[in-house]
Symmetry: C2
Subunit: 721 residues, 2 copies
Amino acid sequence: MGVTMVLPLVLVISVFSLAMAGFLARQVLSADTGTPEMRAISDAIREGAEAFLRRQNRTIAMLAVVAAAVIFGFYYANRAIPNIAQMGHGTAFKVTLSFVVGALCSAIAGYIGMFVSIRANIRTAAAARTSLDKALQLALRAGAVSGLTVVSMSLLGVGGLFYLFGGMHDYQHVPLQIVGFGFGASFVALFAQLGGGIYTKAADVGADLVGKVEAGIPEDDPRNPAVIADLVGDNVGDCAGRGADLFESTAAENIGAMILGIALYPVFGLGGILFPLLARAFGLVATMVGVFSVRCREDEDPMNALNRGYLVTTVLAMVGFAVSVYALLKPVSATIGEVRQGYLLGAGLIGIATAYAFVWITQYYTEYKYRPVRSIAEASRTGPATNIISGLAVGFECTGMPVLVISAALMGSYWCGKMALGDISGAGLYGTAIATMGMLAPCAYILAMDTFGPITDNAGGIIEMSKQPEAIRQKTDRLDAVGNTTKALTKGYAIGSAALAAFLLFRAYLDEVHKITRTEISVDLTRVPVFIGGLLGATLVFVFSSLAIKAVGQAAQVVITEVRRQFKSDPGIMKGTSKPDYARCVDIVTAGALRQMVVPGLLAVMTPIAVGFGFRYLSPYGQVGAESVAALLMVGTITGILMATVMNNGGGAWDNAKKYIESGLFKVDGVVVGKRSEPHKAAVVGDTVGDPFKDTAGPSLHVLIKLLATITLVLAPLFIL
Amino acid sequence: MGVTMVLPLVLVISVFSLAMAGFLARQVLSADTGTPEMRAISDAIREGAEAFLRRQNRTIAMLAVVAAAVIFGFYYANRAIPNIAQMGHGTAFKVTLSFVVGALCSAIAGYIGMFVSIRANIRTAAAARTSLDKALQLALRAGAVSGLTVVSMSLLGVGGLFYLFGGMHDYQHVPLQIVGFGFGASFVALFAQLGGGIYTKAADVGADLVGKVEAGIPEDDPRNPAVIADLVGDNVGDCAGRGADLFESTAAENIGAMILGIALYPVFGLGGILFPLLARAFGLVATMVGVFSVRCREDEDPMNALNRGYLVTTVLAMVGFAVSVYALLKPVSATIGEVRQGYLLGAGLIGIATAYAFVWITQYYTEYKYRPVRSIAEASRTGPATNIISGLAVGFECTGMPVLVISAALMGSYWCGKMALGDISGAGLYGTAIATMGMLAPCAYILAMDTFGPITDNAGGIIEMSKQPEAIRQKTDRLDAVGNTTKALTKGYAIGSAALAAFLLFRAYLDEVHKITRTEISVDLTRVPVFIGGLLGATLVFVFSSLAIKAVGQAAQVVITEVRRQFKSDPGIMKGTSKPDYARCVDIVTAGALRQMVVPGLLAVMTPIAVGFGFRYLSPYGQVGAESVAALLMVGTITGILMATVMNNGGGAWDNAKKYIESGLFKVDGVVVGKRSEPHKAAVVGDTVGDPFKDTAGPSLHVLIKLLATITLVLAPLFIL
């Protein structure tokens, strides 16, 4: 395959997969929408979710315009300094345009994911009335709309800008100009994930605390004025937030890998730069086949069906990966010597294996088949305090295995790179980049499974609230349980890929700095300012987590006050004679969540800027802005990965310890201890503590890690005098 | 002052202060021991504490013998390789001897601290029957026995070994041989702090859960079989554990600063190497004066009296510090140029200011006068879940300010070093070393205040259990409250000094590696194995915390089972007609705690060894054992400092949120919400969660940080091929 054909092929596949997403969306939308009661609930959810996203996007748009102006200003004001000047004409404009396009695409990706999911929930519920298979397929295909859109938009964005800015001729500088795309994407994703995450948990905690605890009514009870807000939360947090999150992941990692490819230009030519795009495009094709292959028997565990689809996707993605390796990663001239492509494929396989290992570890720490969750249930016997203590212990513990896996993957793929390319500079690192690409190849399918979660969750809620027969409820319950698993797996996968990609993004940053300064740069922690940069990076993770958690508490307080007010002003609500004002609750959580997302978001954006510029100008240490920021990025990433793992898995383990007790499988001295027992009450406390961990702070930390990488990539030329 | 006089002077001051400790101990022991009832309780505590320490020391001794054999084996087997050979004859023997002496001194320091405190508790209780001033002085002087012993033993050990090994002539290598002393001290301290910390919280949590929750009897009720074990715990955790902890801190930091002094030998000669010892010795003198100056009026807040003593100590220590600077830190020859000693003194003042800032920040985050603790109390209104969430948010938040202070202190003292010495290599770093020494100058007084805490805590318990009149109880309650504050402040101070000293110890390690390899070493996180080292360092902190927390839960389970058994087998216990078997409970916690301390302890010791040797032999990355371990040390330290801060302050804040509600100052809508209210119950849950944080995992992390530093210092020559 000629290298000139790669970009057109990638763009064609992307457009085709967008069309496929459109086809799937039409298929989903044409499905039956059930009874009028079901529609009433679903309409309320849809309106709430759309209202939230509209207002959130307005807030983010304002922040993004300011950010774009600042970027343009920085670049334009410094256009004469050599660092910027050497990047070519119109760099200020190109970087800013990339940022705007990235931000826009990210917002659109989030919107589309939610657009489909808030319409698929009722249709899944309706389909469950006829067959499990139908409901499963519908929910997965709706999820695939989001998965395919996200990945193909990121390919179109990165590939399109690369082409537009003339990357086929000026491969040296264009990747550095389109880093703005990654920054725009992560800028929007950070606020989307924060806002959505705060919304979803504030509504959840608020609804529970007044509803279950104060008023004594069950979960999802239509008398609770916050119940719709709670269902809306699943969509804005899990769909819109996660969509933006994974969009920026795929974008940032593509760009990072392309920048690493520049270093190997003498060996692979443009092939090394375009390889990530082609591998990802083949992953899209594999996902389409995988999604269509999913069928489920009525009596089968739906998870098995999804797993079969995942297997199909993975195998096909691997074939596509091998094709990409052999087509693009070959020497451009005979003088370069042998390239052992088998080892490059090996690095890709290491990536795939890493993905599997992460999925397995996540299951081990969060499913109640295994020791960790059971130990939390066991500890609930002596009350909420011991439940919390053992949950935190599980959370801290579960960082160990993933880190060993990542360490092994980094070392293995580095070794593969060396074996394939010999002593060429950058060989080992390109090996780690290939592993990252391997891990991300089936990304669209994973995202489809992730979006499957909130859709089935909502479908269950609609069935429950519209009082459908028990048999149907059992079907949606089975789907919902699978959805919980897929949501947990995606988080494990996301953090694993973030960890692997982190190194790639560090290196991309350093390559960029190297290109500017033309001296080899090292991030030497033994220098005082570099060490301080690292210290501040780790601290940022802690303080950011604190703000995210506190934001949930504060927004929940607003919900509680409103629900109490409604109960007080209209006693008919509790009697069931008058309908509560759902919309007002939705409105109030929206305003609360949007107010609370600004401070943690700005802290994340401002810290690297402050450190970079601070140390650029502080003289006694020499000019170490770029290095200090690199240390902030690296140590921040290390701490962020660990904290996110603690929060995701700890939260998941608490959740499932509660579910384990509810399931009736938990026994003390041979007697079942179940719902409404003292241990169950203790487990509910643990679950509530875990909620802002796993749905607000944890996922926001994923985005924070990427944001640190992209912001430093964009501003690198300014940190160096 | 001639430089040859420094070491004798330091040794004389150390011996004098040991004698003073003996004098104070005799004074304390000759005091009145109260009524027979009081003696009965105190005897039980004493016996339990001594039995624990005996068994703990036996376990630690076995581990230490193995460690000593391994060290000797490593050094002896490699005696021919250049790294070791260049350290001179008998290095294997000298390093091992240092290790053994350090381990022994650490154990003795812990033992003496506890020996006095378990005898001072009853005498403080008895003194409270006559006057507050008497009780306060007695408790503080007993604390000073521990403070003076610890610091002077560390000076005697380091100074004595330096002299013995011929450091006055062979200044280049001797400091590297006596690093074994620091490792021995931290080896013992790690297990002592882990064992004591697990013991104290297992007994506490166990006693509370069966006593308060199941049997419904109040705290410190003599019917609870675990009540004596609980009181024993305060001594073995806070006195013995903290004594060993601070012993190793002072030892390790002295050695680290001496190694940095070697780099400046051309400027200061031996003066730069001996400066840390002299500054510390003057600090001892200052502490003695400070302790004797404390007087308290009957109607005064005892904290004011302690603060006056602290002020006296600090001012005198500063004078001694200035004398040391001007006497020792001057150029040895006129050709070197000017040394601006004022800036060196300035670095010392930065250290003192840092100590004050840390004490203030700790108060802000842990006292109920301020927002953070109040926000936790406020959150308790909606139950245990929100209490826990807001406590964790406060814990994560409170890392921010300390890190900013430490960053400023590092930069400021680095700048001072540069200003004082100009462009001499190592100038800036010596500035940070001087700041560390400044911060540690009043260390003995701080330690005295710390030991004051458990003594007054126990005195209160004895008064309570022996049913003394209300007026006396009020006095001991006032002292106990002050003791809680001083304990919290010490932890803040300890972590602050650990953070400042960390950099010193990194640098000492790198200087050592540099001396061996004769090439400049950098800890470049952009290299794969170095990054992995950092990742593993951070993970070690998380997994170690998990193990420490879990150990408490498991040891507490043993207590619970035993107390239940006693209640069941002898119903007379609950009626108050028969005495519970306190000794058996003490025995059982002892065995449980000692079993649980081994795994986390060994993990901490083995991880750096595994990384160092692993990367020494793994070929595709080149030989990077020393750098990977350095990254493990540095990133581990950063993460460790942050986690310890989260745990210490979070735990303290939870504790005081409960006390705030109990105090009757907490109001909802103008109505007092106090003991036995729902918010109080929620706050008790938070307090229980915080217990293993602040008394087991947090303090053990302090030691872990130092252990990583000393173990890498000792094994550095072996990590380099």
